[in-house]
């Protein structure tokens, strides 16, 4: 099996922190250090793609043809409210409960 690249490319920890913020993931300082190294190595490995000339190649988003699928605008049955709320961490029986958003 191919070996992981020995040179330790790292992604700067402040960059890792920025991505974590975008992804809404709280990371510990140990995790920041670990991901800084591991994601750096993985991105380094991705650089192999640079050697491929892709000019003029249409990106392939899906393996099947993608087209809009329309249906009649009719009301269909949906899950009962009780069922939808059943897995929620906090509800009042009618709504999902979240912390205050406006001051």
């Amino acid at each position: 099996m191919n070996q992981t690249s020995p040179q330790s490319a790292t992604l700067p920890p402040e960059e890792v922190a920025k991505i974590a913020r975008l992804a809404r993931l709280k990371l510990s300082s140990d995790e920041l250090t670990l991901y800084s190294r591991q994601i750096g190595q993985i991105l380094d490995f991705m650089n192999v793609l640079r050697e491929v000339d892709t000019s003029g190649i249409e990106p392939m988003v899906s393996a099947v043809p993608c087209e809009n699928i329309f249906r009649e605008d009719i009301v269909i049955e949906s899950l009962p409210r009780k069922t939808v709320l059943a897995n929620a961490p906090r509800t009042d029986g009618k709504f999902f409960l979240v912390p205050n958003i406006l001051g």
Binding site: M1, N2, Q3, T4, S5, L11, V16, I19, A20, R21, L22, A23, R24, L25, K26, L27, E31, L34, Y35, Q38, I39, Q41, I42, L43, F45, M46, V48, L49, R50, V52, T54, I57, E58, P59, M60, V61, S62, A63, V64, C66, I69, R71, L79, T83, V84, A86, N87, A88, P89, R90, F96, V98, P99, N100, I101
Partner: protein
């Protein structure tokens, strides 16, 4: 057809648990067996073996026994539903069934109960199949070893110190350990074929769009498919037959007619041209795996197949391409886990953003976080063209390689994995090395073509090795018949993992 001697010779008590879906179906049809006996046999096998294997996260025996009674009553009334009626399977714990847990192997979904069923499950239930329990997996189907499950390790029944593969770890192990004759898994980059190969069972990834993904908890929507595991090729064909077809609930499910996968299964394909990509037999391939795969290919040549050298020049880019595309889609799909609608909510937060971040940071495991981070990076401003768009362009070149190759051959044969099952713990600290274990399976997901892993042999130390066959889109009938050609010459069903004795 009578049962192979190997099956009955291995029979413990009643030995039912060693039988394949075809054998069980034949016995049911002859009224020499009841569905209730099948369920009872599986429950006995689970209670005696699963403490060592760790395949199941949840077993619902009472419900299965009730379903078995209904199946036996249908059959007694002459109303049996087909080859799966009364036969039990395990379900990867990422495929929803109403009223059942679906943890996805994650702390995030501990205690979650599905409010609806996947279309694949609905169709299997309509065919009389009986889900018996929920199979362990790498968290959110991200991993190749079971080590990313938040709940337990699954052990390879052929060697308990080794991985069964992943991410459909419990699916493969539950079949290999003869606790159930079949299973449902999902395959995003090899998550059916790799564990099937490492566990010595049949595993099929259908064409993208052939089986509805509705009710499969989404990881990488443009890559993944639900597919079957089975002890025998027939079982995989029967499970696919029941599940395949268009579903309005999945906009990517394709409205193509479904072939008959069963009636000609035993007829060998004539004038078969088998493509051998030089890229699949190069550096990094274990010598024993190579020998076993080459012997299997020789079986086809001896049955009249022509071997055609082919090239898949972009295959060396498939791992890097996949590990941009899949994490990008994952970072988007897993945004739904917000600590509000379902799943884990951190007890500590001060506002909405810290509720999101703390809940997600505490409940996702390391690999899931790694992939969300990688995907967020690849999609972020300034990097999307460099990584995501570039990967999608190379994805098209990978697909084009297959289209070109299939001008010269009907099927592509090669290894499923570069090595036999590795030891649990061996790669867990090196994510990139773990990713490279998917090197031969990933391209089929990127291209959307069907692919199967069929047992081909065992190493000297007794570890199973699969042969991978890949074919053009919507040619599963041919793929299954080709797999059957190997199976019929080397009936491996009688070979049992040492842990069963």
């Amino acid at each position: 057809m009578t049962l192979p001697a190997s099956s009955t010779a291995c029979a413990g008590n009643n030995g039912l648990d060693h039988w394949s879906i075809r054998e069980l179906g034949q016995q049911l049809a002859k009224r020499e067996l009841t569905s209730r006996e099948i369920i009872e046999s599986s429950l006995t096998a689970i209670s005696s073996r699963d403490s060592r294997i760790g395949a199941f996260l949840h077993v619902d025996g009472d419900r299965a026994l009730a379903a078995a009674q209904a199946s036996d009553e249908r059959r007694a009334a002459g109303q049996a539903l087909g080859p799966l009626d009364g036969i039990t399977i395990s379900i990867k714990d990422a495929i929803c069934e109403v009223g059942q847990p679906a943890t996805c192997g994650s702390r995030m979904l501990k205690g979650y109960i599905s409010p609806y069923s996947a279309t694949a499950i609905e169709r299997l239930l309509a065919a009389g199949a009986i889900p018996l329990g929920r199979a362990n997996l790498d968290e959110f189907a991200m991993g190749s070893s079971s080590e990313n499950s938040a709940y337990q390790l699954t052990h390879n029944p052929w060697d308990l110190d080794r991985t069964p593969g992943g991410s459909s770890s419990g699916s493969a192990a539950s079949v290999a350990a003869r606790m159930v004759p079949g299973s449902l898994g999902s395959d995003t980059g090899g998550s059916i074929r790799q564990p099937a190969s490492l566990c010595g069972v049949v595993g099929l990834k259908p064409t993208y769009g052939r089986v509805s993904r509705y009710g499969l908890v989404a990881f990488a929507s443009s890559l993944e498919q639900i597919g079957p595991f089975s002890l025998d090729v027939y079982g995989a064909a029967a499970l696919l037959q029941a599940m395949a077809g268009h579903d309005p609930h999945d906009a990517t499910s394709v409205n193509e007619p479904v072939d008959d996968y069963l009636s000609k299964l035993d007829e060998p394909l004539k004038d078969l041209r088998i493509g051998l990509p030089q890229e699949y037999f190069g550096e990094g391939l274990d010598s024993e795996v190579r020998r076993i795969v080459e012997q299997a290919i020789e079986v086809y040549r001896s049955q009249g197949a022509t071997l055609v050298p082919i090239e898949l020049p972009h295959s060396k880019y498939s791992v890097a391409t996949y590990y941009i595309v899949a994490p990008s889609e994952a970072s988007s799909n897993l945004a739904r886990f917000d600590g509000i609608h379902y799943g884990y909510r951190s007890p500590e937060f001060t506002d909405l953003e810290s509720l999101y971040a703390n809940s997600r940071g505490e409940a996702f495991g390391p690999e899931v976080k790694r992939r969300i981070m990688l995907g967020t990076y690849a999609l972020s401003a300034g990097y999307a063209d460099k990584y995501y768009v570039k990967a999608l362009q190379i994805r098209r070149l990978i697909r084009q390689d297959f289209d070109d190759a299939f001008q010269k051959c009907d099927l592509i044969a090669g290894p499923v994995t570069p090595t036999p099952a590795f030891k649990l713990g061996e790669l867990v600290d090196d994510p990139l090395a773990m990713y490279l274990s998917d090197i031969y399976t990933i391209a089929a997901n990127l291209a959307g073509i069907p692919a199967i892993s069929v047992p081909a042999g065992w190493t000297a130390s007794g570890l199973p090795v699969g042969l991978q066959l890949q074919s053009p889109v919507f040619t599963e009938a041919k793929l299954l018949r080709a797999a059957r050609m190997l199976e019929i010459t080397s009936p491996w069903i009688g070979r049992l993992p040492p842990t069963l004795s």
